[in-house]
């Protein structure tokens, strides 16, 4: 039932799969090895906005050169990243929901929280601007105009920092958008949500960093910015080693020190995309 050629092929496949398996087994122990004296690894849970912008790819090689520590990055929405940290599945967090962060530090889940950098959220939409968002005097007025005009709006809908800010703004504007026909909840990251807004010619609230890095592919223009209510503060914090004794607190602390050091802050300020600064160092606005 098997001719010789097929048997040979079978042997070859078996050998390939076996080799792949052996390689995998050979690699596995390396992954689990705890970090030595110098170096080691930490897991950073962060948001799609910091990761997709390329900021971390730019900072981490410099950090590794200085300390030998390798940062493994998991990019999630802020809500999920906070959950990952609370469960002890990461060592350090870089997220943007200041209220929730301070609350969780209070509750003892995280320690050593610092304000690292900020940028702002912007309202983007089609150039025609059917609801006249451009003329709005405040972020709340802009949202009210979108609601009154019943023009399409795409929301992140994923419990990320951006989504949480958007929901707070709707509430302050006195609009309950969830059940409206013009409101679409994407349940996706910032890039996907912007692309959806682009396809639907809809409005969208985005962080400036992601919008700038993707705007060459989008027919969306910046319609409203500059309201203090749209400030976007990023904070870094370590998982509390008293809650989760296995976390690499010492290494996490070094990472926090690096980001908040003068050198780290200058590096962040110097990071540009399409000629624009994406993140500004330090604390933006006091709440």
């Amino acid at each position: 039932m098997f001719d010789k050629r097929n048997l040979k092929l079978l042997g070859l496949l078996m050998a390939l799969v076996l080799a792949a398996g052996l390689l995998a087994v050979g690699c596995a122990p390396k992954e689990e090895e705890p970090g030595g004296e110098a170096g080691g690894e930490i897991i950073l849970a962060t948001t799609t906005s910091t990761y997709d912008s390329g900021l971390l790819d730019y900072l981490h090689p410099i950090f590794k050169e200085k300390t030998g520590i390798e940062v493994k990055v998991i990019s999630q929405g802020t809500g999920q990243a906070l959950e990952t940290g609370k469960n002890g599945d990461a060592d350090v967090l870089l997220v943007h929901d200041r209220q929730a962060e301070l609350q969780l530090v209070e509750e003892g889940f995280f320690v050593d929280r610092h304000d690292v950098m900020y940028n702002d959220f912007i309202i983007v939409g089609p150039e025609a601007d059917p609801s006249g968002v451009k003329e709005a005097g405040s972020a709340l007025e802009a949202l009210q105009k979108i609601a009154a005009g019943e023009t399409e709006f795409v929301s992140r809908g994923d419990d990320s920092g951006t989504h949480r800010l958007e929901m707070r703004l709707w509430e302050a504007a006195g609009v309950a958008p969830e059940d409206q026909a013009w409101y679409a909840s994407a349940g996706s990251g910032m890039g996907d949500t912007l692309r959806m807004a682009h396809e639907k010619e809809a409005y969208c609230i985005a962080d400036r960093g992601t919008y700038v890095s993707l705007k060459k592919d989008l027919d969306l223009v910046l319609l409203f910015d500059g309201d203090p209510a749209l400030f976007n503060q990023y904070g870094v914090m370590a998982v509390n080693p008293e809650k989760h004794p296995h976390v690499k607190y010492d290494l996490a602390k070094k990472y926090i020190e690096f980001l908040t050091s003068q050198e780290g802050q200058e590096l962040i300020a110097g990071f540009k995309k399409e000629g624009e600064t994406l993140f500004f160092p330090g604390l933006g606005l006091e709440e």
């Binding site: 039932m1 050629r5 799969v17 390689l23 897991i43 990055v73 989760h244």
Partner: protein, 233 residues
């Protein structure tokens, strides 16, 4: 459309240059899915053979369960393994979340039912006959089971290749338990998701082409073996 063409052109340069980052991702995909399929084969073929040789009535329920799990959505497998391996989960002390080992575990839960189920079907079609012949020639239970495996090898090979094709192409489970960490747990499918999100289409298309090529190689092989089997048996 021009973007798709541009992407394909750029993708070819990346592949031809053997872009080191790209190669690392492809290699890890093969390692993780290769290990998962080896484990699934070692467990699934004996299990499927054993079940296939039992009377159908006795194993009806377990058969139905296996067939159901053959269609298990990868994200569901990922979610369950995630909750088991998280630090606050029952196996949290092992610290396996966000490692290739976790990805292998998740893919085994996807591939094992497929290998077992297809083995079972293959063995059931002719296995009893073969087993009885072997027995009548004086073979013990183990030796006759081995004879069944040998005689059903075309079906079993199909089971293994189908399982491999399923896990190498899935994204939901490895994303959830691996975390898509660059250089550690980033595989082809999770990289495609990330690069698309970043608007980096060339890279995403390049990986897509490699995945398609792999799938083509596997299917060509499967087709030839199955045809060979038919002609000669």
């Amino acid at each position: 459309m021009p973007r798709l063409l541009e992407g394909i052109m750029e993708a070819f340069t990346l592949i031809i240059k053997l872009d080191p980052e790209l190669m690392k991702i492809v290699l890890l995909s093969l390692q993780v899915s290769g290990a998962a399929i080896i484990i699934s084969t070692l467990l699934g073929i004996p299990l499927g053979t054993w079940l296939g040789l039992k009377p159908e009535k006795k194993t009806a329920l377990i058969n139905k369960v296996i067939y159901t799990f053959m269609g298990l959505p990868p994200v569901v497998a990922g979610l369950v393994i995630y909750l088991l391996l998280s630090r606050v989960g029952p196996l949290g002390v092992l610290g396996l979340l966000y490692t290739p080992t976790a990805m292998i575990i998740a893919q085994v839960t996807l591939a094992l039912p497929i290998v077992t189920g297809l083995t079972l079907v293959g063995v059931r079609s002719r296995g009893k006959e073969v087993e009885e012949t072997a027995r009548s020639l004086g073979a013990g239970p183990l030796l006759s089971a081995w004879t069944v495996v040998r005689e059903s090898r075309v079906a079993l090979l199909g089971a293994v290749v189908t399982g491999f094709g399923r896990v190498i192409a899935e994204v939901g489970a490895v994303m959830m338990v691996g975390g898509n960490i660059e250089g550690h747990t980033r595989v082809m499918t999770t990289a495609i998701v990330l690069e698309t999100r970043k608007g980096n289409y060339a890279y995403a298309i390049g990986l897509g082409l490699i995945l398609l090529t792999l799938s083509f190689v596997i299917n060509t092989f499967l087709y030839r073996v199955q045809r060979g089997g038919e002609v000669n048996s």
